[in-house]
Amino acid sequence: MGLTMRHALLALLSKEPAHGYELKHAIEAELGELWPPVNVGQIYKTLGRLKADGLVRSADVAQASRPDKRVFELTAAGRDELNAWVDQPAPAVRVKDEFFTKLVLVARAKVVDPLVLIDRQRRAHLRELRSVTDLAATVTGMAARLAVEGAVLHLQADLKWLERCEQAFTNRGDTA
């Protein structure tokens, strides 16, 4: 989805300064249903890199009964980076397709029957479609629902495209 932890943190911090745990909770609230569990160490590591790059800065805030907490906020450079990322259109999914490359090359080299390759890929897509639809039954957040919907539509398109591939390769086999 083109969304990395780096950009996610920049985006969250653009609203208001926050400390590591707050960022973890925010991520979980928005995307938790889709992402694997986020661990705090990973967040601090990323924040460290962002600070080293000058995109965020941090300040320690004293707390009464607990150790000081470190609050992060966006720098001007960080905001520029975020804006650049936002303005840049995400690349289309299908442009670099590993399967397609494989299919074409394999067909030419006659390493394996392309139809076998297609079947295998379809099975993979179908299983993925099933797991995504299973997921769809459990998600509640709007963002998550949209993401699942997108995945389903992509997979449906992929399956349709596989059908076309199959037709094309079957016909070629007939004429050969």
Partner: protein, 243 residues
């Protein structure tokens, strides 16, 4: 336990001089409580296959066994009795009786199977509630939305608690919202132990099943196992639908 077993099914039609092999040697096994979907483009023979399994059409050759009893040789009346008690059908076109109210449409199979008036009324009320159309029981099907009509059709198919539910493109005429409602219902039914054979061209609908057969030109070209096998049939349908 194997519920349905079809062996080397063929159904050939003669159109003019050409022989169309709508079903051309399909083997199919459905376990009790299993959900199998058959996917393929239109004209691949999947609907014909479903009709053969429900006795709406007769195979040119091949065998059909239901619970180890061979049924492909049954006469029309024999198939009618199977459809009455053991096989329910759901179609894209709903096929409800326009002149009867929703409730009457549901009660019809029960009355046919010899249930008393109270029994059939109670069963219809139960299903109508579970399917979320209890409030529309006395309405004519013409006044329902597509999704509601399909729910009525599902209810009718379930009236006599069939062993096997055959569904032919049940979401083919529905919008996406009604589609997901119907799919949820089918999912819950399956979770409650209902064996289903569903025919569709839509992968999203097809992947609801435990097992997915891809059919081309009357033959099964691929089989994919999905999800984690059959759900426990201990849970009652009611519990699941009210969840």
């Amino acid at each position: 336990m194997t519920l349905l077993r079809a062996v080397a099914l063929h159904r050939h039609f003669t159109v003019g001089d050409t022989v169309v092999r709508a079903v051309d040697g399909i083997d199919l096994t459905v376990e009790a409580g299993e959900f199998v979907s058959v996917m393929g483009p239109s004209g691949c023979g999947k609907s014909t296959l479903l009709h053969l399994l429900g006795g709406l059409d007769r195979p040119t050759s091949g065998e059909i066994h239901l619970d180890d009893e061979r049924v492909d040789g049954l006469k029309e009346a024999g198939w009618a009795r199977l459809r009455r008690r053991r096989i329910g059908f759901v179609f894209q076109a709903y096929n409800l009786i326009d002149d009867l109210s929703v409730r009457d449409n549901l009660e019809l199979p029960a009355v046919l199977a010899g249930a008393s008036a109270q029994q059939s009324r109670a069963r219809a009320a139960e299903l109508l509630d579970q399917l979320g159309i209890g409030a529309r029981a006395d309405v004519a099907p013409a006044h329902l939305s597509g999704g509601e009509r399909q729910r009525v059709a599902i209810g009718r198919a379930l009236m006599n608690r069939p062993d096997l539910l055959l569904a032919d493109e049940p979401t083919g005429a529905l919008d996406s919202r009604a589609t997901s409602e119907v799919l949820q219902i089918l999912g819950r039914l399956h979770a409650g132990g209902q064996a289903i054979v569903l025919v569709t061209h839509d992968p999203r609908v097809a992947t609801l099943a435990d097992r997915l057969l891809t059919v081309r030109d009357g033959q099964v070209v691929d089989e994919t196992r999905l999800g984690g096998g059959t759900a426990s049939p201990v849970l009652g349908l009611g519990d699941l639908l009210e969840r």
